[in-house]
Amino acid sequence: MDKTAEESKDSGAMKDIPPDAVPLLSGEEVKAYLEQDVTYLCLYTGTKVGKMAVTNYKLHFQSGGKQKDSVPFILEVPLCTISKVEKVGGVTSSSKAVDGRNPYGLEITCKDLRVLRFALRHDAHYLRRKMFEKLQEYCFPASNKLPYFAFNYREQYPDSSNGWSLYSVKSEFQRQGLPVEGWRYTKANMINSKYELCDTYPQLLVVPAAANDEHLNQVVQFRSRGRIPVLSWIHPESQATITRCSQPLIGISNKRSRDDERYVQMILDANPHAHKLLIFDARPQANAVANMARGGGYEKNEQYQNAEVIFCDIHNIHVMRESLRKLQDICFLPQLSQDKHWLSSLDQTQWIHHIKVILAAATRIAHEIESAKASVLVHCSDGWDRTAQLTSMSMIMLDSYYRTLEGFQVLIEKEWLSFGHKFAQRIGHGDKNHSDAERSPVFLQFIDCVWQMTQQFPTAFEFNEHFLISVLDHLYSCLFGTFLYNCDKERKNKDIRKKTISLWSMINLHRDDYLNALYVSTYNHHVLLPASSMRHLDLWIGYYGRWNPRMKSQEPVAERHKELLQVRDYLKKQVEELERELAIKQEKEKAVAAAVPNPTVSITNH
């Protein structure tokens, strides 16, 4: 042990590790390595002894040593998934001793709800410190002024599946039916091409045709962070629209802006069927009112005469963060004593309740658009968290395109990435400050809502649960550039399209793995309204409980579904082959018949 310690003392570059010890991605390098005597303390399956390595991308643990022939246990965690690394035991915290023994090691808390514990040898102070330092360094690249691993990742993906070229504003709106009479694109090189109108919006926006650029510049003044109402989705037939924005800057003095009022009226006028614009304020009314003290507020009836404000009662990021924390507590550290109260403790986390509120509001939006042909304006405070949840969920309900693998990617690119959901802040990519109040599982909730819908409409979605989980895993992993940074502008500045790989490149290359075998096209052009009663919502065990073996699914239904499809395809192929053979045979017979004219031989084609 001492020997290893001395050896690794000088090896900053880690040249002396065996080449096959850690499987590496291209661009990945081992930064720290402990060859033996690391014990992984799994909550459910006992301890595993093995080796541990830290690279610039992941933490790698592999059991082994004594039992060479058994299947090694491998644990890999992308470093950016880690939110907190702590030393456990040792001189400072002898109070944590268990059964007279003083555990000594590292405790690693992950954003995907795991808590990993590694025990090290007591006499290996130096090694632990080194491991800890390396973890601190590479887990939090943003705090240490290091690049994310996405910038080092050198894997080659074919151009045909390049995820960066997946989404373009124009082609997406064309798909929705633009150009139409009431709406126009903002002119290139005029508005927001350098993000001067709103730095968290994309460069190209779709606004009411009636509003000129000067007007837009006025409206910008009256909306929080300049996030003016812009088009998200338009109904191909009724031209009912979903528009999104931030709160109006009304404040305590009840300011008003004629320009903004006129602008809202223009949105309404663009829809020939509607007499009233429905404004969905995602917040609880109390919060909206409280925001007036901070200069915000909501559209009041007196000023916006043809608008109706509906409050959706979705709580803010802090409430959601707290809810997830509670959920993590009961999911990841279930103690036997909690079992009999499982349901009520799940109830207390309020997690499913929050999901329910989001789903219910989105369902209402979809319903208003489809049935009442109403146009809808959605906002919360800043219009990048709850607003994104509501617009994207209702778009999934309304438009079957977003239920396909490609469409869902477009939806994330559009509603979440381009409209500036602050991924870097909400996730805390590579950020040391694990208790940052800006972190919140907003996007996770969105994926959870989608999952709830896939449960209720198992044949309506082209992608499967594995896809949703993969998206969430790479939300944290920083292996791909997709979710890095807060908004379009930052991403452009960092040139991520050139320097990193898109998550969708990887997904689309392995497309088959993410397809739902049960998908049928019957639901195309159907609006799906999920039941959002608590009775019909489930906890997503497949995600939240996936580290807990006793919460796992026991039989691979999805595999079975795939199998059935394979059988069908096989049979189809058989039929085709036989048909071909038959055709050949008939040709031959015809030839024979032609050669030997015989009235008794007649060939029927049935």
Partner: protein, 757 residues
């Protein structure tokens, strides 16, 4: 005909004149027998609106017959709605000025609202419904008046036959014989006339044993496992305050032991109740008199507590007030899921004792015909793949419930809505069905049937046109000539038109045990049953069914084309093994109804081949959800997917559960681990795990469970059983209940389940 009332379209054909006449006759007959001459009848009301909370309201003419209220919809496309009086649990009436609204709350948890014009008519209808729904004489009920109008190939009464069952048993062992001791139901009224007992025990000993057991329910065999251990059930021994004993009962039980000569007695009452029972003449087997048996308790609560819980969960499910915030807390405080969990717990425990330790298990509570049956039948589903087929499952219900004397007539007299005074009704059978639902939910590929069958069975157990669930005991059934006068529900389920409705298209026979997770996280709320008005269709299954139909079509096309091409014989195509057994299964299913036995054999052959071929390949299960290449995060749990319920370590640990660490070592770890580990987890484990760890590879472990005949596994079985036997002997020599690991476990388990009431 609307299927949502559970009455199939076959009944529609009953509405011809002859049938109606018969119903009217029955109606008059009933009125007479009740000597309700003053009853002013309203046989027919027009302009009634019917709404069940699910479909649109329907208007029509309501007719009252002897057993049904029938609504003939004005719009003929809506068909007819039949409501059997037996299904009506409570009638809630709100009489207005010119109309009355009746809410019929049904035992199958449906609620039907009828709006009837005319106050008098409404009152009469309500009155008739109330009177006729409270008839208790089974001979007056609909099954005795119902004639099958559907086509069927086999008589459901013949599905289960103890002689067949015994023959199968004989092929495995000659230790048992078929006894006619109860041929006139003199020994035990609630047992069938023929009973399987140990060969070495003669009838006189059985009679003595029967006198020593409550209601004469002496220990009988329910399940004989391939390793020689068996599951036995009985009622409590009549030990009484004087500590009586019965040597014949002791001999009888000892004769039932398997090759290990050891057995467990699972008492499903709480320790306290068992002790208290002594004062009332009952009691439990003492360790002195039954030295080969080790007794432990697991409280499953008595039947009336379960009924109260049912009332609460139904109340919570029906709460449409919108204050759904506390839904899960309400669900929890109903205690219902707790009963489900507990029953599954007990069944797992029994199954594990039998399968792993090779000890026989005797299960009893007080009378031994309620939760006892839940435990024994669930354990069989876990252990025996035959019970997971439709026929096997129906036979199991016959064997373990109907012939075993579960008092269906008493237990399903009322549902959760009834305000009548309780007469011993209880959802024991419903709990069993829901446990099966949970198994089905966890193992969607391992059951031949879907949950529709379970919902329908539950409904029929409350009200039915079939005789299957009538009466309490076999004696009454024989006296009432049930088999001659009524039609079996099984006849209906197995009829060619109905059978496919219940088939699970995902079914893939596997012959090994299924070990469910009993963690509360794994238990599902049964929406289909409790909130039938808002449960979406199971689209996934429908989709799979349509895929199967496509398969059949394509297969047919292939065969046709092949015939025309002329160079591929059809047989070959049908025997294609495209990776899996689907094609074969499909072709089997087509002729399944006709030569069932032949097909069964075929299937078995095929499955065996398959197991031999693909046995280890089943490990693919562990790769779900399949991890991504570069991110073997999931490998974390790769090695332990085939887990036993970790939740209850006392159930044993699957070796793969604890690959190289013993639970007893865990307290050395960090804080949370100490709390996680149940310190009392089975003390026999160390030896077991050590012997198994010498084999190391989880692959081999798996073989050990699935292919018991291989040399490898028998070796390991011997190895592992030896040390544990020694250990157990030590326990016996101590004869201290306190040190008994299982007893202490069950206590700690009891702590877990403090009643939420």
């Amino acid at each position: 005909m609307l299927s949502w009332l559970g009455i199939s379209s076959d009944d529609a054909s009953n509405s011809d004149e002859e049938e109606e006449a018969r119903h009217l006759f029955a109606h008059k007959f009933l009125m007479k027998t009740m000597s309700e001459n003053e009853l002013s009848q309203t046989p027919k009301v027009e302009g009634v609106w019917c709404y069940n909370g699910q479909n649109k309201a329907i208007s029509g003419t309501l007719c009252l017959t002897g057993h049904h209220m029938i609504l003939y919809a004005d719009d003929t496309s809506s068909g007819e709605i039949w409501i059997q009086y037996m299904n009506i649990d409570a009638v809630e009436k709100r009489i207005g000025l010119d109309k009355g609204t009746l809410v019929l709350k049904c035992k199958d948890l449906q609620q039907i609202q009828l709006t009837i014009p005319g106050v008098e008519d409404a009152t009469n209808v309500a009155y008739t419904a109330e009177i006729l729904s409270s008839i208790t004489d089974p001979c007056l009920q609909f099954p005795f008046f119902y004639r099958a109008k559907f086509k069927y190939d086999e008589n459901g009464w013949d599905l289960y036959n103890i002689n067949d069952w015994y023959k199968e048993l004989q092929s495995k062992t000659d230790k048992w014989r078929l006894s006619d001791v109860n041929s006139d139901f003199g020994v035990c009224t609630s047992y069938p006339n023929q009973i399987v007992v140990p060969s070495e025990i003669d009838d006189s000993m059985i009679q003595k044993s029967a006198k020593f057991r409550q209601a004469g329910r002496f220990p009988v065999l329910c399940y004989y496992h391939k390793n020689g251990a068996s599951i036995i059930r009985s009622s409590q021994p009549l030990v009484g305050a004087n500590n009586r004993r019965c040597k014949d009962d002791e001999k009888l039980l000892n004769a039932m032991l398997g090759p290990s000569h050891r057995g467990y007695i699972l008492d499903i009452r709480s320790v306290q109740t068992a002790v208290q029972a002594k004062a009332k003449g009952g009691g439990y087997e003492s360790d002195h008199q039954y030295p080969r048996w080790k007794r432990f308790t697991m409280n499953l609560y008595s039947y009336y507590v379960q009924q109260e819980s049912l009332i609460r969960i139904v109340e919570a499910s029906n709460d449409k007030s919108g204050s759904m915030d506390r839904w899960m807390s309400k669900l929890e405080s109903s205690g219902w899921m707790g009963y489900i969990k507990r029953a599954m717990d007990a069944a797992c425990l029994v199954a594990q004792c039998v399968d792993r330790e090779e000890w026989s298990v005797l299960v009893h509570g007080a009378e031994g015909f309620d939760s006892t049956l839940t435990v024994t039948s669930l354990a069989q589903i876990i252990l025996d793949s035959e019970c997971r087929t439709i026929r096997g499952f129906l036979a199991l219900i016959d064997r373990e419930w109907i012939y075993a004397g579960h008092p269906f007539a008493d237990r399903s007299a009322h549902g959760p809505y009834s305000s009548n005074k309780q007469r011993g009704e209880s959802p024991v059978f419903s709990i069993f069905l829901e446990c099966v639902f949970q198994l089905l939910h966890q193992f969607p590929l391992s059951f031949e049937f879907t949950s529709t069958l379970l919902v329908d069975l539950r409904m029929h157990s409350y009200s039915s046109q079939f005789g299957t669930f009538l009466f309490n005991h076999m004696r009454d059934r024989v006296r009432g000539k049930l088999h001659q006068k009524t039609i079996s529900l099984w006849t209906y389920i197995l009829s060619p038109a109905i059978f496919p409705k219940y088939i699970n298209p995902l079914y893939k026979r596997r012959n090994d045990n299924i070990w469910p997770s009993v963690a509360p996280q794994s238990l599902e709320f049964w929406e289909e049953l409790f909130t039938p008005w808002s449960t979406p269709r199971n689209e996934a299954l429908e989709r799979v069914k349509s895929l199967e139909a496509e398969h059949i079509e394509l297969e047919y096309l292939t065969a046709k084309l092949a015939k025309r091409v002329g160079n591929v014989p059809i047989n070959e195509i049908q025997n294609l093994t495209i990776g899996q057994m689907d094609v074969k299964k499909v072709s089997n299913r087509k002729s399944a109804m006709k030569n069932e036995k032949l097909n069964k054999k075929k299937n078995e052959n095929f499955v065996n081949e398959n197991a031999a071929m693909n046995g280890p390949k089943l490990l693919d299960f562990t790769e779900f959800p399949r991890p991504e290449k570069f991110e073997d995060l999931v490998s974390d749990e790769k090695s332990n997917n085939y887990y036993m319920p970790i939740d209850a370590p006392q159930h044993f640990s699957n070796d793969t559960d604890i690959p190289n660490g013993l639970p007893l070592q865990r307290p050395n770890l960090l804080d949370n681990l100490a709390a996680f580990v149940n310190p009392s987890s089975s003390q026999e484990l160390p030896e077991k795990v050590e012997t198994n760890s010498s084999k190391e590879s989880p692959l081999i472990d798996f073989d050990h469970f699935s292919v018991p005949n291989s040399d490898n596994s028998t070796d390991s079985a011997q190895q592992s059983s030896e040390p544990s036997l020694i250990n157990i002997d030590e326990d016996f020599s101590n004869e201290k209940i306190e040190t008994d690991p299982n007893l202490s476990n069950s206590n700690s388990l009891n702590d877990l389940y403090e009643s939420p009431i």
